[in-house]
């Protein structure tokens, strides 16, 4: 990456940080963790933007109950994610694994870790450098949907790829 691109990217990040964060992967994040530093969705027309990644490429995949297997649909999404990450080498990513509320707390953290790693492994298999990716599990601590029926649970059993700036920066 040229110095100029780096600066452009940095400016972009700063601009995005000024927007109100939609952070819809788990609502308003009070954890002070990486979630709070996630990049807002905007500029979705720009195919190098985090907004484009989130909305056009698709930043998340969903899982069947108590599994970490990637469905064919999930694999399609992840191929798109891999392509984006390889075309936009300035980004790093944290893959956040989540579970629905129908499990015990510790197990769900372990299950979320499995899901995040399944995504990481797939992205790496598609050519993304492993050192650009990290995983974290939130277990059932950060549901996206709050109802207690399957339609919500299905949205909560997810792994979300959250972009960050600056590999090696």
């Amino acid at each position: 990456m040229t110095h100029l691109t780096k600066v452009a990217l940095l400016l972009g990040v700063l601009a995005l940080a000024a927007c109100s964060t939609s952070a819809d992967r788990f609502g308003t994040d009070p954890s002070g963790g990486f979630g709070a530093d996630g990049i807002a969705s905007s500029g979705i027309g720009d195919p190098t933007s985090a907004g484009y990644f989130q909305q056009q490429v698709g930043d998340r995949v969903l899982f069947v109950v108590d599994t970490s297997d990637l469905t064919p649909q999930a694999q399609d999404t992840l191929r798109g994610q891999a392509q984006f990450l390889m075309s936009n080498a300035g980004y790093t990513a944290i893959i956040e694994g989540h579970a629905d509320e129908r499990g015990t707390r510790e197990y769900n953290i372990a299950l979320g870790a499995r899901r995040a790693t399944a995504v990481q492994d797939f992205l790496v298999s598609q050519g993304v450098a492993p050192n650009r990716l990290r995983t974290v599990s939130y277990g059932k601590e950060r549901p996206l949907e709050v109802c207690s029926v399957e339609s919500c649970y299905a949205q909560n059993r997810r792994a979300v790829t959250v972009l960050g700036a600056g590999v090696g920066s």
Binding site: G27, G32, T104, I109, A110, Q120, S137, E141, E145, S148
Partner: protein
């Protein structure tokens, strides 16, 4: 702020007024008490003017402790025929028999000029017409009045049931607030009955599952303050804390102390695989105890420190296993319908409490350590995370309600499945862990 004020409790035996003879006043908890034992707690006598309000409050807490077990029924003071106006006056047994009080607690409270509180009590077996055990005197500061009341109640409970007490204890837990998709959490501590609530962390990061050390002086908990789940140890007197020494780029959670208080057993997730490790706190030496591609988590030591119960999905679903403390010889102990998790070894060593998920319901249950005699104690939309009272007779756990407005609360139940109660604290709460009986 100190979690446990150092209670310079002076315990003295008092001369028995008549003769010390153990009567037949007795509850066998294990047989499942259906009919609570009627007991009268006479208002404690104030021996100094400034002791009056303490005397009243202390008798009330003793009565609430005993009645709260479900084993005792407190007889209303309005039914009393005798009034106890002097601690040394002879007991009018006929008056207490007439209202069917089987046990009678009398006491006296004094406050010295320098703020020292002394509490004396005696327990009488009304139908045998004699004291049950010796009179005792506790001394502390006035700020400790609740603890002293709990200590008296522990004595009464213990003498009648033959079991250790559990009232003079603390519970560490997670206080929750805010909407379900952005819940704020903080570690907090309280007396077993919800009083003296004290926050131990702020709510700036997700925190999970605090656990007491066997001495009650420290806690372990998991916090996301770095963005990743990591285990911290906190001194509950000074509130100073440190992160446990674990490899970078890993997630660590589900910690518990070994009975020696110097070893921590926990889960570590690396490369998507969660296994159980042991960490020596003094040397930071880490030992891996399980090495399978399945999920191994929620480890809990046996009270003698020789074995560890944990959950694993190595069979395809979450089940309970017991292994030696060095990780050898894992044996599955749960074979019923459904999934089993969060096992916790009873401080008595005889039972393991667990969470069970079956047919869309969650249960708290107990099982013998060899896997026999499984019993479910509760059922709801979501019950999880049992913790044992110091005497191994009561279990506290998290019960969460369903829906967008669903929230967790702390409940307790005794090991016969009776006396289900909500712990009366304001707001939402989860992940309780009981302290040992305080010194």
């Amino acid at each position: 702020m100190m979690l446990f004020r150092i209670l310079a409790l002076v315990v003295c035996g008092l001369a028995a007024p008549i003769y010390a003879q153990d009567g037949p006043l007795r509850i066998e908890i294990t047989e499942g008490v259906i009919e609570p034992l009627p007991i009268a707690v006479a208002p404690f006598v104030a021996e100094t003017p400034s002791a009056a309000s303490f005397a009243n409050d202390i008798s009330q807490v003793i009565g609430e402790d005993l009645a709260g077990t479900g084993l005792f029924r407190q007889i209303s003071q309005s039914a009393f025929i005798s009034q106890v106006s002097s601690f040394e006056a002879p007991v009018q047994y006929a008056d207490w028999k007439a209202i069917n009080a089987q046990g009678l607690v009398t006491g006296a409270v004094g406050v010295s000029a320098d703020g020292r509180l002394t509490v004396k009590f005696r327990l009488f077996d009304v139908f045998s017409e004699g004291p049950l055990g010796d009179g005792l005197q506790f001394a502390g500061t006035t700020a400790d009045w609740r603890r002293i009341a709990h200590k008296v109640a522990d004595q009464v409970y213990s003498r009648i049931t033959g079991e250790g007490g559990y009232f003079d204890s603390r519970v560490v837990f997670v206080r929750e607030s805010g909407p379900k998709n952005a819940r704020q959490k903080q570690v907090a501590a309280m007396d077993y009955d919800g009083e003296n609530l004290q926050p131990l962390t702020d709510a700036s990061a997700i925190v999970l599952a605090p656990r007491f050390s066997p001495q009650g002086d420290r806690i372990l908990f998991t916090s996301y303050e770095t963005g990743f789940p990591q285990i911290y140890e906190m001194n509950v007197s000074t509130l100073t804390r440190r992160a446990l020494d674990v490899p970078a780029e890993t997630m660590t959670f589900a910690p518990r102390y070994a009975p020696d208080g110097q070893t921590v057993v926990f889960s570590l997730a690396e490369g998507g695989n969660t296994d159980i490790y042991k960490l020596d706190l003094a040397s930071n030496r880490r030992t891996r105890l399980t090495a399978t591609p399945s999920i191994e988590t929620a480890p809990s030591f046996s009270p003698d420190g020789t074995r560890i119960v944990f959950e694993s999905d190595r069979s395809g679903t979450q089940q309970l296993y017991v292994m030696n403390a060095d990780g050898s010889n894992p044996q599955r102990i749960s074979f019923g319908q459904g999934r089993y998790g969060t096992p916790v070894w009873s401080p008595r060593g005889d039972l393991i409490a667990f969470t069970k998920q079956n047919e869309g319901r969650f249960h708290i249950g107990v099982i013998r350590t060899d896997g026999s005699e499984e019993r479910l104690l509760t059922a709801s939309f979501l019950d999880e995370g049992p913790t044992w009272s110091p005497n191994g007779r009561v279990i506290m756990f998290t019960r969460e309600t369903a829906g967008a407005d669903g929230a967790p609360a702390l409940f307790s139940v005794d090991i016969s499945g009776r006396n289900l109660r909500r712990v009366p604290i304001p707001g939402a709460a989860s992940d309780p862990a009981w302290s040992p009986l305080l010194p």
